[in-house]
């Protein structure tokens, strides 16, 4: 089956007086109908930028400089502004860490849902109202009719995020990009949102990119995981394969540094040092300064290479599934 999204060798840069900052390089993956991809990596690795590049929401001085973003085979990078506006919201939607990126603080919830509906569909008043109530109802907002009159500040953080999700799903998009939507929420509310998004995407076959710095959240939610480091994907594969048998030394380091039940008070594995700044990248593998397996050859940039069934890793000396 043709993928919903096929991202090919995406490059994004920020253009400053000092030259181009290579924020994304060679980012490629594809996503099938109903599939959930977890996009993980530490702060500054390029997770959000990947989402913004797909939806073409990068502001100057940033710019996508190369690659293709194929949605059902159509390259979004070649669409004009009006065509792109029609795609955004209707076919591709984003959910952000801060629901106020979606919501307008001075408008009632009902008004915002109406505006979002009418941006892409022609509907009568009664239809708008019915759709709005149904949308709030399906994200588990109690007494949705009364809530139409509420302003965002009258809702709890978890409720606001539910409303943002309801708006994102209004037009049954083919692809949802969720950028850490539970990071600012409590564990219990996070669980509610995860359950909700998981159920809605599974029911409707929506493809989902779930961005998170938390490997544990992604383990519970995703079918596949892509790990980013310094603007590149360094490993991608099925959840079980990647977590049980990581190929890239960085993936292995990340997994080992997560506190795990049953190893109470044992020393956690720590990756020495930190991710280099994008303005100060080593010439080859960006992980080399921290990598226990690094050798002289790592001074040249490794390509993404197959590392087992359905898996790719950007490493010359992978821990598993190499050339053999």
């Amino acid at each position: 089956m043709a993928p919903v999204l096929d991202l090919k060798a995406l490059n994004t840069g920020f253009f400053t007086a000092a030259g181009e900052i290579p924020a994304l390089r060679d980012v490629s993956f594809s996503l099938g109908r109903g599939e959930i991809l977890g996009l993980v990596g530490e702060s500054g690795s390029g997770k959000s930028l990947t989402g913004f590049s797909i939806t073409r929401l990068i502001a100057a001085p940033g710019r996508v400089t190369g690659g293709e973003v194929l949605l059902h085979g159509q390259d979004l990078l070649r669409l004009g502004p009006e065509a792109m506006r029609r795609v955004r919201g209707a076919k591709v939607a984003m959910i952000f860490q801060d629901p106020m990126m979606t919501l307008n603080p001075v408008l009632r919830i009902g008004t915002q849902i109406r505006d979002a509906l009418l941006a892409h569909e022609r509907l009568g008043r009664a239809e708008v109202r019915a759709r709005a109530i149904a949308a709030l109802d399906q994200v588990g907002i109690p007494s949705p009719e009364a809530r139409l009159k509420a302003y965002p500040h009258q809702l709890s953080g978890g409720m606001r995020q539910r409303v943002a999700i309801a708006i994102a799903l209004l037009h049954a998009p083919d692809l949802v990009i969720a950028d850490e939507p539970t990071t600012a929420l409590d564990v219990t509310i996070q669980g509610q949102i995860l359950a909700l998004v998981q159920r809605l995407c599974r029911e409707r076959g929506t493809a989902l990119i779930w961005i998170s710095h938390d490997l544990s959240v992604v383990a519970g939610l995703a079918d596949r995981i892509a790990v980013m480091y310094a603007g590149r994907i360094v490993e991608i594969g099925a959840v079980d394969d990647l977590l049980d048998d990581p190929a890239h030394p960085y993936t292995q380091g990340l997994i080992a540094s997560v506190p795990t039940p049953g190893r109470r008070q044992a020393r956690l594995a720590q990756i020495p040092g930190r991710m280099p700044a994008l303005t100060d990248l080593p010439p080859g593998c960006a992980f080399a300064p921290r990598c226990p397996r690094a050798q002289a050859a790592c001074e040249a940039m490794p390509a993404m290479t197959p590392a087992g069934e359905g898996r790719m890793a950007r490493c010359l000396y992978p821990l598993t599934g190499g050339a053999a």
Binding site: V187, T188, A219, G220, T260
Partner: protein
């Protein structure tokens, strides 16, 4: 291993609002202001802290963790209850040194005060480490002053030896002493947290109150800091009150755990027992809901409902609107915190002794989880 009791909290309580300060009361009397509602942030929390142990505090946002921590650190006076330091630890001005720029925190720190410790060359017994190492470090000060100022003022190190003292602290906390002349903003989040820790340790505290001290850090950096805390405990026999909303972190580092809900302790006990066999339905839901690396493609069955407002707490057991096991009695009667044996306490009408819990488990297998999703 843990030793004698060095801090005892009895019925610690903190309310906010209500009467308000002098100005607010004046305005109210003139009819210019309405009385503010009372927030019962912390209600009657009691515990012993043993030397060398890590006591974890978990619970949802707003349940009173930080308020409790600030009272224990001496940064906030309790509305009621008491804090004792039976081990003869000098009581001091609390965590001012590690607090925001050294001043703001101490202003209202009228907790267990012992005036003459300020002038003696004494250790400050309690220090607090905050979530955001950036906000708690003065950006206009160099690292050597951030770390060295308090030990100099409190004459913990001799004036001529401050330099080496600071370098030693930096090394212990994994910061290159070569960076001592830099400013805090020149460091990454993890390094800033190390500076905050070095700064707290420089006054040789016995107790560290860590409030979400690793919550803002990336997991690989978080691992470095958690390891550092464990090393410092071994090296200095430090005692920790370790506050976090992250159950995985608490399970990893704590010897004992307090679970809070809406200002009250609802369960406490040794970490392993509490995590493997939680006595309180709230603890149980928290533990079952927490994402874990080994929980793959899980069907999430979360605790339903929002966190209730501390301005308007539910009647009876505060957890009853969200509790899958609630019975009529839970709506009217608040459960007492009862002894479950083996160092465990739980505040639930249905919680039995751990052995009885096993029995109910086998009988009522289907009773849990009682709230499927959707």
């Amino acid at each position: 291993m843990t030793g004698e009791v060095i801090l005892r909290a009895q019925g610690l309580t903190r309310h906010f609002g209500g009467e308000g300060d002098l100005v607010a009361r004046g305005l109210m009397r003139l009819g210019l202001a309405k009385p503010r509602p009372v927030v019962r942030a912390v209600e009657e929390v009691s515990f012993d802290l043993h030397r060398g142990e890590v006591l974890g505090v978990v619970g949802e946002s707003g349940c009173g963790k930080s308020t409790l921590g600030r009272m224990v650190a001496g940064l906030l006076p309790p509305s009621a209850g008491r804090l004792d330091l039976p081990g003869g630890v000098a009581t001091g001005r609390g965590a001012g040194a590690a607090g925001q720029g050294g001043g703001a925190g101490t202003a209202n720190g009228t907790g267990p005060t012992d005036a003459d410790t300020q002038d003696r060359g004494a250790a400050l017994p309690m220090q607090m480490i905050f979530q955001d190492p950036y906000a708690s470090l003065n950006p206009r000060k160099r690292v050597r002053d951030l770390i060295g100022e308090a030990p100099r003022v409190h004459r913990i190190a001799k004036p001529g030896e401050i330099g080496t003292y600071v370098q030693d602290m930096m090394e212990r906390c994994g910061i290159d002493p070569g960076y001592r002349d830099r400013f805090a903003h020149e460091f990454s989040g993890g390094q800033r947290q190390r500076i905050g820790i070095a700064r707290a340790l420089a006054v040789t505290p016995e107790i560290l109150v860590c409030d979400e001290a690793v919550s803002a850090l990336d997991v690989s950096i978080q691992a470095q800091i958690l390891n550092l805390f464990m090393d410092l405990r071994d090296e200095f026999g430090l005692t920790y009150l370790f506050i976090s909303h992250d159950l995985a972190v608490i399970e990893h580092i704590a010897d004992r755990v307090l679970v809070m809900y809406l200002g009250r302790v609802v369960e406490s006990g040794p970490t392993e027992a509490l995590f493997s066999d939680p006595a309180h339905p709230y603890t149980r839901s928290l533990i079952e809901g927490v994402p874990r690396l080994d929980r793959r493609r899980k069907v999430f069955a979360p605790i339903e409902g929002d966190i209730p407002s501390p301005l308007d707490p539910p009647s009876g057991c505060a957890f009853h609107p969200r509790c899958p096991l609630a019975v009529a009695r839970c709506v009217s009667e608040p459960p007492a915190l009862r002894d479950m044996g083996q160092g465990r306490l739980a505040a639930c009408h249905l919680a039995g002794a751990p052995s009885q819990t096993d029995a109910t488990d086998t009988e009522g297998e289907t009773a849990w989880p009682a709230t499927p999703t959707g």
